[in-house]
């Protein structure tokens, strides 16, 4: 296989993998930047995947080809609403953020599977008839070399994810909202003395993580599995969490990390067809993405500093 062949296979598949991780990791950034640890990302993706598939199955006849996009919006809303549980518990009820996140994960799986059984009378949904499908990006696809590698056989959602990452970066680093959000995650008492409503900012942070986690799940379900069952989301939320940390809580960092994960994963798949990797036992390719990530962290990333007040409760008047 020529390098070009390899790239035209690896790049689109990298982007396909990365898209749900990017959305979800960006959600994680909103939450953790506001000071609320969110290991419930997995659960939020489950909610998003479930909602989008159910919506898609139910309303395809009504909305036609717009359905997957509408389903994303619905999943976004559902994710945001569901994340309210995490917000109420960890902000208002002063629950340990991690415990509450674990509960979110447990609850999401239990609830959605329960509902699937209620709605469909069986353990998984049917297959959606219209998900996100492969496209060639108009105009760009004709750029020599680059067009073929990056803009053919790819998915709109991947590009949306990249654009959203840039928007999130802009929001977090360039707008008053972002400044306030970060201040609340770094030093809530300082923010409070500046008249910023710490509780409100944190609720917003968590709900944005719910919204983006929901989108992540919806993108995953509608561009990859096409249905919803207990196995639809199996660890992607944790990978998104890892991408967020790997990316040092920075939107563009998370974008890079998610793409790196996708790349490592794709390489492990293409590997068996590459002459120099062919003889290697399959297991090495299977573990490659994970080992590469660890090596990358050890080698050039090193220490990642979380927002200082992440995981703490802000109780007015305490010292």
């Amino acid at each position: 296989m020529s390098l070009m062949d390899i790239l035209t296979i690896v790049v689109p598949s990298t982007l396909l993998w990365a898209a749900p991780l990017i959305f979800t990791a960006l959600g994680g950034i909103f939450s953790e930047r506001s000071g609320v640890v969110n290991i419930g990302l997995e659960g939020l993706m489950v909610i998003g995947a479930f909602t989008s598939i159910v919506f898609n199955l139910t309303f395809f006849d009504t909305f036609g080809n717009a359905t997957p996009w509408l389903a994303i919006l619905v999943a976004m809303v559902a994710g945001a609403i569901f994340s309210l549980l995490h917000a109420v518990a960890s902000i208002t009820f002063r629950a340990d953020h991690t415990v509450s996140g674990v509960a979110i994960n447990l609850l999401a799986v239990g609830l959605t599977m329960f509902l699937v059984k209620q709605i469909y009378g069986k353990g998984e949904t049917g297959i959606i008839s219209k998900g996100f499908s492969k496209i060639d990006v108009p105009v760009l696809k004709d750029i020599p070399v680059i067009g073929e590698i990056f803009f053919q056989n790819t998915y709109w959602t991947s590009f949306v994810a990249i654009i959203v990452a840039i928007i999130v970066w802009y929001i977090v680093y360039k707008t008053p909202f972002g400044l306030r959000l970060r201040s609340v995650g770094e030093h809530p008492m300082a923010a409070d003395t500046m008249g910023i409503n710490v509780t409100k900012m944190r609720y917003l942070g968590v709900m944005l993580s719910g919204a983006l986690g929901g989108i992540g799940g919806a993108v995953y379900a509608q561009s990859i599995t096409s249905n919803f069952s207990h196995a639809t989301i199996s660890g992607q939320g944790f990978m998104a969490l890892a991408a967020m940390i790997f990316g040092k809580w920075h939107p563009l960092g998370a974008l890079g990390a998610a793409i790196f994960f996708g790349f490592a994963q794709s390489i492990s798949i293409i590997g068996s067809s590459l002459p120099f990797l062919k003889e290697i036992p399959n297991v090495y390719l299977l573990i490659a993405p994970y080992v590469l990530t660890i090596l990358a962290l050890t080698g050039f990333i090193g220490r990642a500093d979380a927002p200082k007040a992440v995981g703490t409760h802000y109780i007015k008047g305490s010292r």
């Binding site: 297959i127 069952s229 068996s272």
Partner: protein, 340 residues
């Protein structure tokens, strides 16, 4: 609470109908649950059909199932069903082998059956399938469909069952068109659709135009990829072959056919035997083409060579049924296989 003491089970439960109590049968699914679109679902459909045909009720004393939520639950579930006095309890899937063996040893007076694995106990019937025969036919169909002479095979995990699929499939391709190249790749999981999708993408990109999967839900990714590609380039061929049940619903334009594994047939058949007092305890019951236990789903009407395929498949079915052709079930056997 649950109200039955444990010492008296010996005499009561051995043979169904004898004491005026009607025959009852139940199964334990593995973690996939009854709706895994694969053998759990198929087994449950078989059991439901058997129950309805014989006027049984769903639930205790009729037909029922328990779903396992982890490997550790198999034994508990099997035991629970035996304790509820079901006359025959199925363990569905090779994962349950050890659990069935263990519980069968404890509950010597109950009948058990295991699908996809062998348990050597006098009160256990082992149901095995000749997956290689179905896969062989799928291989024939694939070989006769490919224009690029390039085919893909996606396996779930490298376990004996999937090896039978692989060996049979490769043999079928070889028999129908010896010079076709087949890429074989295992995803390492039965529930990772994204892996299936990426592997399928790679296979199609590198020139394959027919891909067969034996990878459970991982295979969903194959269909997704094929449907996407077909939608984008309707003029080109992106065929996918399903497994276990007829997966035509996964993509009417791309599903060429499916290698059927009729767990439902096997379950009905064995339940019937047990009800009639002919429980084949301690035996391995093999279901192949001959027993209607495996087969090939109807070939897609849009397939260019449909007639030729149908004909070839029919011929091979005859040969296999008659014993003229023995389909290899391991990679070693495949090495020595020749279709003559």
């Amino acid at each position: 609470a649950c109200g039955k003491s444990d010492d008296n089970k010996g005499t009561e439960t051995s043979k169904g109908g004898e004491k005026g109590k009607s025959f009852s049968v139940a199964m334990v699914t593995d973690v996939g649950g009854v709706d895994d679109k694969s053998f759990n679902q198929s087994a449950w459909e078989g059991l439901q059909k058997f129950g309805k045909d014989n006027g049984m009720k769903e639930g205790k004393g009729g037909y029922s199932y328990l779903q396992s939520k982890s490997d550790a639950d198999y034994a508990t579930n099997l035991n629970t069903l035996a304790r509820q006095d079901f006359d025959l309890v199925y363990g569905i899937g090779f994962l349950m082998q050890a659990a069935v063996e263990e519980i069968a040893k404890q509950q010597k007076d109950h009948h058990f059956a295991i699908v996809d694995a062998e348990v050597k106990q006098p009160n256990v019937a082992s149901i095995l399938f000749k997956e290689q025969e179905a896969a062989f036919l799928a291989g024939v169909a694939a070989a006769l469909t490919t224009k690029t002479n390039h085919i893909g095979f996606i396996g779930g995990m490298e376990i004996p069952v999937i090896e039978r699929f692989e060996s049979g499939f490769l043999a079928g391709v070889k028999a129908a068109k010896p010079d076709v190249q087949v890429d074989v790749q295992y995803s390492g999981a039965f529930d990772k659709a994204e892996l299936g999708q990426s592997i399928a993408s790679k296979m199609y990109s590198s020139g394959a135009d027919v891909v067969f999967h034996a990878a459970g839900a991982t295979g969903n990714g194959l269909f997704k990829e094929a449907v996407d590609r077909k939608a984008k380039e309707p003029s080109k061929d992106f065929w996918a072959i399903g497994v276990d049940r007829d997966q035509a619903d996964m993509g009417p334009d791309v599903v060429l056919t499916s290698a059927l594994k009729r767990v439902d047939v096997a379950v009905q058949d064995l339940s019937k035997k047990a009800m009639d007092g002919n429980f084949p305890g301690g035996e391995v019951v093999l279901y192949g083409l001959h027993e209607d236990g495996v087969g090939l789903a109807p070939v897609n009407a849009k397939a260019p060579n449909k007639d030729a395929i149908d004909k070839a498949v029919k011929d091979y079915i005859e040969k296999i049924k008659s014993g003229d052709l023995k389909v290899p079930q391991t990679r070693d056997e495949l090495k020595n296989f020749s279709a003559k």
